[in-house]
């Protein structure tokens, strides 16, 4: 909640003029009447291995036209490989990639007409900002190349769009990180791409600039409507920016869904652990009841087979209950201020399983107290789910 308020403040204070400029640039129209032809993208059973190591194992994904999708995962999860395959910079060992109904793998990088924004931006150092943005148009074969004046007009429009109106004559080395990022985006948009691909678009920027640019990218997307895929290892970025998030781990897609689905209903232990913070408590299921050590918890597990499980729940998603009400009882061993909340670490039962809960910042001095809590929403995973 607080994060949202903070962002609103940012927008009002820092991006007020940005809104005005985006509104002013509303007259910006693409050269060919549409912003390229936006297509939906289908990835079918795409696998990619480098020598003996497999980067992707049979990944399938459908991206609707105009959708903004995040590929989220830790490093080595294959997310960048998948993005490069979409962009034509890498090729799958198996599987198909379709742009609309067209087989994208049969197209060269140049023919794919994909806007690719690189993590390091890859701006051409020896060219001015203007020439960087104009590059994609100026290398077109003569009969498809717009006239010089048209290219210049187009570049000026894009400079307005990315709020770098007067910086066309600068060289990339003379720009800040955030400005370079925006030049890279303008350069990718200049070719009227069918899809827009961004590799860790905010990875190299500091926290404040990241947040502003995130909002700003979302606005650009809402205005131009490009089918957009971006790669990130930052869950906040993915959840805040994307229409849908695909969580990747070890070359497989663990879950695809809206940010709400991913956060509130993680499909796998990995997603539960990777997105947000999760407590994992070893429990036992016996005839529909969940036992912690030998006490039954006041949680109903419908249709679960008997046996050991991991009970997973979010630190903030708990309520305090009284003694004897079938709650999780434990001793507060530490308390830490955690942004707007206070985080208590609790040791539970004779095994001293440690869980963490978030309480209001005003609740201080709990250390050493005994508390009883129950998760409001929770999930059960197999007992070895959170190992390794």
């Amino acid at each position: 909640m607080d994060a949202v308020t903070g962002n609103d403040l940012n927008i009002r204070a820092g991006l007020g003029s940005a809104h005005a400029r985006i509104a002013a640039a509303e007259g910006l129209r693409p050269l060919a009447g549409t912003w390229g032809k936006q297509v939906d993208v289908t990835v079918e059973n795409v696998a990619r291995s480098f020598g003996d190591t497999a980067a992707l194992h049979g990944v399938s994904l459908k991206i609707a036209s105009g959708e903004l999708v995040a590929l989220l995962g830790p490093s080595g999860s294959g997310k960048t490989t998948l993005l490069r395959i979409l962009g034509g910079l890498d090729f799958p060992s198996e599987g198909r990639v379709l742009f609309g109904a067209e087989d994208a793998l049969g197209l060269s990088v140049q023919e794919r007409n994909v806007g690719f924004v690189f993590q390091s931006y890859a701006l051409f150092r020896h060219m001015t900002v203007h020439d960087n943005i104009a590059f994609g148009l100026s290398v077109r074969p003569a009969k498809r190349r717009p006239a010089k004046a048209a290219i210049k007009k187009r570049v000026d429009e894009l400079l307005d769009l990315v709020q770098l109106t007067d910086l066309g004559k600068r060289y990339p080395a003379q720009l800040s990180g955030g400005q370079r990022q925006r030049v890279a985006l303008a350069r990718a948009l200049a070719i009227e791409p069918r899809i827009l691909l961004l590799d860790e678009p905010f990875g190299a920027l500091d926290a404040k600039v990241r947040k502003d640019l995130r909002r700003w990218l979302r606005e650009i997307h809402d205005r131009t409507g490009h089918t957009t895929v971006f790669v990130t290892h930052d869950q906040d970025e993915a959840l805040e920016l994307a229409d849908r998030v695909a969580v990747l781990n070890k070359g497989r897609i663990e879950q695809i869904g809206t940010p709400d689905e991913i956060y509130d209903a993680p499909a796998t232990p990995f997603v539960a652990g990777f997105i947000g913070e999760t407590n994992a408590l070893p429990v036992r299921v016996e005839s529909g009841k969940i036992f912690l050590d030998d006490r039954a918890l006041d949680l109903a597990s419908t249709g679960e087979a008997d046996g050991p499980r991991m009970l997973a729940f979010r630190p903030h998603d708990i309520e305090f209950t009284g003694e004897g009400a079938g709650g999780i009882a434990g001793l507060v061993v530490s308390e830490l201020r955690h942004g707007a909340t206070r985080r208590l670490a609790i040791e539970v039962g004779p095994q001293r399983h440690r869980i963490e809960i978030d309480v209001g910042a005003e609740t201080a001095g709990q250390k050493g107290n005994r508390v009883v809590v129950l998760p409001r929403s929770w999930r059960l995973f197999s007992p070895d789910a959170f190992r390794g």
């Binding site: 962009g87 994909v114 690719f116 890859a122 051409f124 020896h126 290398v139």
Partner: protein, 292 residues
């Protein structure tokens, strides 16, 4: 940051450098360095010009205007004019392949490019005599076709190309490897073809290193002695390059003439260095930007 930390607080006692030798040690070390530079670099250079002008300008100009000297100068320029562009193309192609692509035998190719640096120039020259000489591998066939390579201009050009081969490639490979391939990937994703990418992105990114390699390669091409001496046959007015001409004149006790021609070569070295320094100074900002 480190600079800030090193500044002593106001009113602190006399600043003492953390890393510094005593005065005596500093003076001795600097004196040794200056003496070595003076004796081994500066003095020889000065003496070349001193000997050349010892009897005044007249004999100097006469020595340079002499028929065989002019022929040697022309031949040297011709050889450089062929060898340097050839190695520019070879060097760029080799560096491009090595830095931007992965293939089997890559490290072997790098070693091969370094070969001319590690082989004695005399051996380099002999290789060509053994290949193209009258008794050489291709010799009889070449003779039957009426093509003369050894003891003629083609041999000199071949030997010079061989000796100067690493200069451009060696300058470019580390820089291109450091720059990686993302710029090229960006260019092709924006729709550029292979040649467009090469001429508009790859080449401009390395132009200063390229120029530097060409300058050094050119200096070596004009100054090469060993390899050329073996293949040239030293026919006066025909296959004598400037360095060979200097040696002949010197052996014939024509000191002024020898040093006059030598002074031209020394001048070439100075011009090369001056040009390099000027370019680095003039484009320092751009060079820094490209390396960034």
């Amino acid at each position: 940051m480190a600079d800030v930390a090193l500044v002593p607080p106001v009113g602190a006692p006399r600043r003492r450098e953390v890393i510094s030798e005593g005065l005596f040690v500093r003076v001795v070390l600097i004196a040794i360095a200056v003496a070595l530079l003076g004796i081994f670099l500066l003095l020889p250079l000065v003496s070349v010009f001193y000997e050349a002008f010892r009897t005044g300008f007249g004999p100097y100009w006469a020595a340079l205007g002499e028929k065989d000297a002019l022929a040697a100068i022309r031949l040297t320029l011709l050889v450089a004019a062929i060898a340097v562009p050839a190695n520019l193309v070879f060097g760029v192609a080799a560096a491009w392949a090595i830095a931007k692509f992965d293939f089997k035998g890559k490290s072997f190719l790098i070693t091969l490019i370094d070969l001319p640096f590690s082989v004695s120039p005399v051996t380099s020259g002999l290789i060509y005599v053994l290949l193209f000489g009258a008794q050489g591998f291709f010799g009889p066939w070449l003779q039957s076709q009426g093509i003369q390579i050894i003891f003629a201009v083609p041999g000199i050009v071949l030997a010079t190309i061989f000796v100067t081969f690493p200069f451009v490639a060696r300058e470019l490979i580390p820089l291109m490897q450091e720059q990686g391939t993302t710029d090229e990937e960006a260019a092709i994703s924006l729709g550029a073809g292979g040649w467009q990418t090469f001429f508009r992105v790859t080449l401009p990114n390395v132009k200063w290193a390229l120029l530097y390699g060409v300058l050094l390669g050119n200096a070596r091409a004009m100054g090469e002695f060993g390899a050329v001496a073996v293949v040239s046959g030293k026919i006066r007015g025909q296959t004598n390059t400037m360095p060979l001409h200097v040696e002949i004149l010197y052996n014939e006790y024509m000191a002024v003439a020898a040093f006059a021609v030598a002074s031209l070569l020394a001048m070439l070295a100075l011009i090369t260095l001056g040009l390099k320094t000027f370019l680095e100074w003039r484009f320092s900002g751009e060079i820094a930007a490209i390396r960034r």
